[in-house]
Amino acid sequence: MALTDKDVKKIAKLARIRLSEAEVTHYAGEINGILKWIEQLQEVNTEGVAPLASVSQQALPWRADVVSDGNIRDAVLKNAPMQNYGCFAVPKVIE
């Protein structure tokens, strides 16, 4: 169950966080410590217990199908580090 450096690299890739080799090893150690501590949950008998959907006691509220938003392009783009043609710019993506 202990994570290897390879496991941590896979997780870091899924999370899109670049880690140096040293960081990988460092985080592997820390995460393994945390996971070991979390293991105690397996002691709990949860037979027949439904996972808690939410502490909220109500049902999902619905809203009416009216246009109540949008048309705020400048505000949406305001904080963009790079933009042009009314769009956010990213490095070229080839499909």
């Binding site: 966080i17 945390i34 439904a50």
Partner: protein, 493 residues
């Protein structure tokens, strides 16, 4: 005059403003002066909004003159950096949100401004609300205004994640500060700085515009120097928000009016599992003191059991990081904040470099854990298991509340520790939240208030936990304790 102005409670200031004994502009200026004097050493405020504050104060004075006062008309407050405030830096104390100024206002701050509050600035916190000591902030540590008698040279942590909020309120740099609480981030810093902080029932206060950490746990709430101030402020920020699907469709009671009912006949539950092995005797003594006060005031003390208490911490440290790993995926250098990229980089390079540079170590750690516990093959064993245990923890409280009306426990396992004294082991840090996390998992209202000082001369707090949406009972019981204990204040502010 200046000292007196910032020493008032919020309620006193409200009355003084209404009685025209002082103007909001005077009150605001007094706070700005105090901030100029004390903030450099505390690093509580990280964005200053003096111009906005004075303009708001002026408008408030006009409204007060017309007799149109809102709940907090003219009252200077601080806002945790986790709240999106329009046109003002809102960075969750993270490098990855450098320069982010939202084009929208959070519901909580909208409500506060509608009620006439005056914003002095944005307050320091742990990065993305992940921490219990305000030592992970990109703006640098926040320092507790309290000093230990036994080691006065040491800088102490104010608690976290709402460290800046608690420090500012304790140091009289605002009458109230907004905080957020996911696993204890209002209550624990309130205990460390000797003030009052309440985490409302999940759904009582809107999350719209609060930068999300763990969606099923986050709740915004006020931090103040008195229970009455907390009641007033809680009413101002509460209420149904149609923009938040988890927001409760309940009317907001007049919390201030609920104070002063006394606790005669109130059943106060003492959960035996909170008396943990290795808990510092001073913490236990403080707890006993609280029990005695309520008993003397006519409350019935009841022994209750919350059998799954010890599993609350590991449950939280699966669920919160899992939700966070998903909530923080949007920080990618594309639409706001930091962007780290070089010529020739691919899209993934942009993501990986930006997030590596932008997130601090604790945030990275939690994202990695969260990603792992949700990943294929592990979801059932970790996340789903944790949600089952969470259901049991919630059920524990429901059962306990059949035998009592409110629970009394310690807030934190220690008084404020020194910066650098904390262990490098993440798990040791997580144990700071051992008393606060269960109520978060169950979504129950919980508050901390000061009960006295430790042998180091540092504040200790007690926690009151109530039934869903029964903040009134919690506030009322706290009020009784406060009448006996009084309020605490660090020296020199």
């Amino acid at each position: 005059m200046m000292t007196a102005a910032t020493h008032m409670t919020l309620a006193e200031a409200r009355d003084a403003l209404k009685a025209k004994k002082i103007s909001s502009v005077e009150l605001t200026q007094a706070h700005l002066d105090a901030i100029a004097k004390h903030n450099p050493a505390l690093n509580a405020y990280v964005h200053h909004t003096a111009e906005i504050a004075l303009a708001q104060a002026k408008a408030a004075d006009a409204k007060l003159a017309r007799g149109e006062a809102g709940l907090l008309e003219g009252i200077p407050i601080g806002v945790k950096d986790l709240f999106c405030t329009k046109g003002v830096g809102s960075q969750a104390a993270s490098h990855i949100l450098d320069g982010f100024k939202p084009e929208y206002e959070s519901t909580v701050t909208s409500k506060l401004f509608n009620e006439g509050a005056v914003m002095l600035g944005k307050l320091n916190m742990d990065e993305f609300a992940m921490g219990s000591a305000n030592i992970t902030s990109h703006y640098g540590h926040c320092i507790n205004p309290w000093k230990s008698k036994t080691a006065p040279e040491k800088q102490l942590v104010p608690g976290g994640s709402s460290g800046g909020s608690s420090a500012a309120v304790a140091a009289r740099l605002c009458f109230m500060a907004t905080g957020t609480d996911t696993g204890g981030s209002i209550r624990q810093p309130a205990a460390f700085t000797g003030i009052v902080g309440i985490k409302p029932t999940y759904g009582r206060v809107s999350r719209w515009g609060v930068i999300a950490f763990a969606s099923s746990l986050d709740q915004a709430g006020p931090m103040t120097r008195s229970v009455r101030d907390a009641a007033i402020s809680l009413a101002a920020v509460s209420g149904h928000d149609p923009k938040d699907s988890t927001s409760a469709t309940l009317d907001v009671p007049n919390f201030e009016a609920a104070l002063g009912q006394g606790v005669r006949g109130l059943k106060v539950g003492i959960p035996r599992e909170y008396r943990m092995e290795g808990t510092h005797p001073e913490i236990l003594a403080a707890w006993d003191k609280g029990v005695a006060i309520l008993k003397a005031a006519g409350a019935e003390i009841v022994d209750v059991s919350l059998p799954h208490t010890k599993y609350a911490l590991p449950t939280y440290y699966i669920i919160a990081p899992a939700e966070a790993s998903s909530n923080l995926a949007r920080y990618d250098g594309v639409r706001f904040g930091l962007r780290v990229s070089e010529e020739g980089d691919s899209l993934d390079d942009l993501y990986e470099k930006t997030r590596a540079a932008g997130f601090g170590a604790e945030v990275k750690r939690r994202i990695l854990i969260g990603t792992y516990v949700l990943s294929a093959g592990y979801y059932d064993a970790y996340y789903k298991k944790a949600q089952r245990v969470r259901a049991l923890i919630a059920q524990d409280f429901k059962t306990a509340f059949e035998a009592c009306d409110v629970l009394l426990t310690p807030t934190a396992p220690s008084d404020a520790f020194a910066i650098g004294d904390n262990s490098q082991d993440p798990v040791a840090m997580y144990l700071n939240d051992v008393f606060t996390i269960p109520a978060s998992l169950a979504g129950l209202p919980a508050m901390s208030l000061p009960i006295g000082l430790s042998s180091n001369g540092l504040p200790l707090g007690l926690q009151l936990i109530g039934r869903s949406f029964d903040e009134a009972t919690v506030l009322n019981a706290a009020d009784v304790i406060e009448r006996e204990v009084g309020t605490l204040a660090p020296e020199g502010y």
